[in-house]
């Protein structure tokens, strides 16, 4: 026994050594950029969202925090940090506190396989998107947990809706990804982007780098697939017209009704991060990811980041734009769209793309 204890003590420096190992540090540093990116991006998007919505609605939004309210997101976050954190007495406190972690981790882990440029990618596993879809299922559990733990009926309804929604749209998302994977033969988003490198004509949206006849045949199907992927992705991140879980006019705030202060901020952050995640996946799979649309012009790892973020932000913008245009679906219509529209269409696409590829 004595010896056991001694050995355990001895173990500690060993672990310490291991952790101090340079590779671990490199890993940690390697994992940090997406986090910084998420934070910056969230600030920018919060601001953009409000400004875009405002201008769509003929108004101006933030004006008094910095030049044209540019510091507003900073103020919001600083404010949320100092906000009291209420935990309802009747809530299941453990789960209530755990839920934000799951939601954020599920989202953030997805960023591990996003190729920001040809040179940077959190983790180069070759299962890329597949892993990403799997990781997002942690979010489902997180949302269910938050809704249930709040012991609030609106939260519960919201959580149920979001679970139904995420679960339903996972099938179309995965099937749409599948179509791209069939064409590229790889799940690694970096590889997929590389596959489409060389200009706009090589993007899978436009048929991919194929012989011209194949390309033309593929084009309608890839286009439909892309559309479905994008819409299903929007549904997965609860944006209008699929924003039922937090449908303000119906369910107050949905699953995060009882959350305040920092925990709420984390849900918020996760939601915005998810928006980018969806755009990033759509971009990488169908729009060449980090590759420049002009062939070798303006390409390279650094430009890669630029292109990638630009393309991603463009779709984030489209999401915002749609949000402030469209009304919201009802929950049974949501199911209808997923199961009876998207899924059959994708089956058709899979068969068609499969046939075109082998013939």
């Amino acid at each position: 026994m004595e010896e056991l204890g001694k050995t355990i003590l001895k173990l500690i420096p060993v672990i310490g050594d291991q952790l101090a190992d340079i590779s671990v540090l490199v890993f940690v540093i390697g994992a940090a950029p997406p986090l910084i990116f998420i934070l910056l991006y969230a600030l920018v998007t919060l601001y953009t969202e409000m400004k875009v919505s405002a201008h769509i609605q003929d108004r101006v939004a933030y004006m008094y925090t910095g030049y044209h309210g540019i510091l507003q997101p900073v103020a919001d976050i600083l404010k949320l940090i100092q906000k009291e954190d209420t935990v309802p007495d009747s809530a299941d406190k453990t789960l209530f506190r755990l839920a934000p972690y799951l939601v954020f981790i599920g989202t953030y882990a997805g960023f591990a396989v996003i190729p920001f440029s040809s040179a940077y990618m959190g983790s180069n596993i070759n299962l890329g998107v597949f892993y990403l879809i799997a990781a997002s299922s942690i979010v489902v559990i997180g949302l269910l947990m938050s809704g249930w733990a709040s012991n609030n009926k609106w939260s519960l309804l919201g959580a149920m809706r979001s679970a139904a929604q995420l679960v339903s749209y996972e099938v179309p998302t995965a099937l749409a990804v599948l179509v791209a994977v069939m064409i590229t033969g790889s799940l690694n988003l970096n590889e997929v982007s590389k596959f489409q490198d060389g200009g706009i004509q090589n993007w899978i949206l436009f048929g991919g780098p194929m012989p011209i006849t194949q390309k033309l045949l593929l084009l309608p199907f890839t286009f439909i697939t892309f559309l479905i992927l994008f819409l299903a992705g929007m549904a997965e991140v609860n944006r209008t017209p699929f924003d039922l879980p937090e449908a303000e006019s119906e369910l107050v705030q949905g699953f995060n009704t009882e959350y305040s202060g920092m925990k709420f901020a984390i849900f918020y952050l996760a939601e915005y991060a998810n928006m980018f995640l969806v755009s990033a996946v759509a971009t990488s799979l169908f729009l060449g990811g980090w590759s420049s649309p002009f062939g070798s012009f303006m390409s390279g790892p650094v430009w890669g980041v630029f292109w990638f973020v630009m393309k991603g932000m463009f779709f984030v913008f489209v999401q915002i734009w749609m949000r402030w245009t469209l009304p919201r679906l009802r929950v049974d219509q949501l199911m209808y769209t997923s199961w009876k529209v998207m899924t059959p269409f994708l089956f058709v696409c899979i068969f068609a793309v499969g046939l075109i590829l082998v013939l």
Binding site: Y62, Q72, D76, K79, T86, T257, G261
Partner: protein, 165 residues
């Protein structure tokens, strides 16, 4: 908890600058509770609509009290509603502020004399920070009320925070 809360008797330079930053954040990001009672609520909506656009001051409507900072009591507070208002106020996370908008919530307004079912002033149930007069106050008046509140928040200090009810 709340390590910085109530912990300082008097402030020094460092605390003051932190305080300024925090106050700035609080005052420029006042989430408003989406909550209207009567006619004044329409002017409140008008204030958030395009022509006046209350969001320029960082006031965003949120539906749940947990995430809101300022409750704009806009309209007539009736006896039946008073306990609900009190409950909603209780459920707001601190720091929280109340703007009483319009004659009715200031003191019963036109209903002060014969209103058997009207609470004569919302300050009988919850503490009010700013009173905006008018019946209904013009949207600009509400904006001015918000600016008054911001002034008040700016002067707050970590050392002595607003007491709870």
């Amino acid at each position: 908890m709340g390590l910085l809360d109530y912990k300082f008797e008097n402030s020094n330079v460092f605390i003051t600058s932190v305080e300024n930053l925090l106050n700035w954040a609080r005052l420029s990001s006042l989430f408003q509770m989406q909550f209207g009672l009567a006619c004044c609520a329409i002017e409140m909506m008008a204030a958030s609509a395009s022509n006046f656009d209350i969001m320029r001051f960082g006031v965003i409507p949120r539906a749940t009290p947990r995430q809101t900072d300022v409750m704009i009591v806009a309209g007539t507070v009736t006896l039946k509603m008073a306990s609900r208002i009190k409950r909603l106020y209780d459920q707001m996370a601190e720091p929280r502020y109340v703007i009483s908008m319009g004659s009715c919530s200031n003191c019963g307004g036109p209903y002060w004399e014969h209103g058997y079912h009207v609470l004569k002033g919302v300050d009988r149930v919850i503490p009010v920070d700013v009173y905006v007069p008018g019946c209904p106050p013009r949207p600009e008046a509400l904006l001015e009320g918000i600016m008054k509140l911001q002034e008040k928040v700016r002067k707050e200090s970590l050392a002595r925070k607003k007491q709870i009810v």
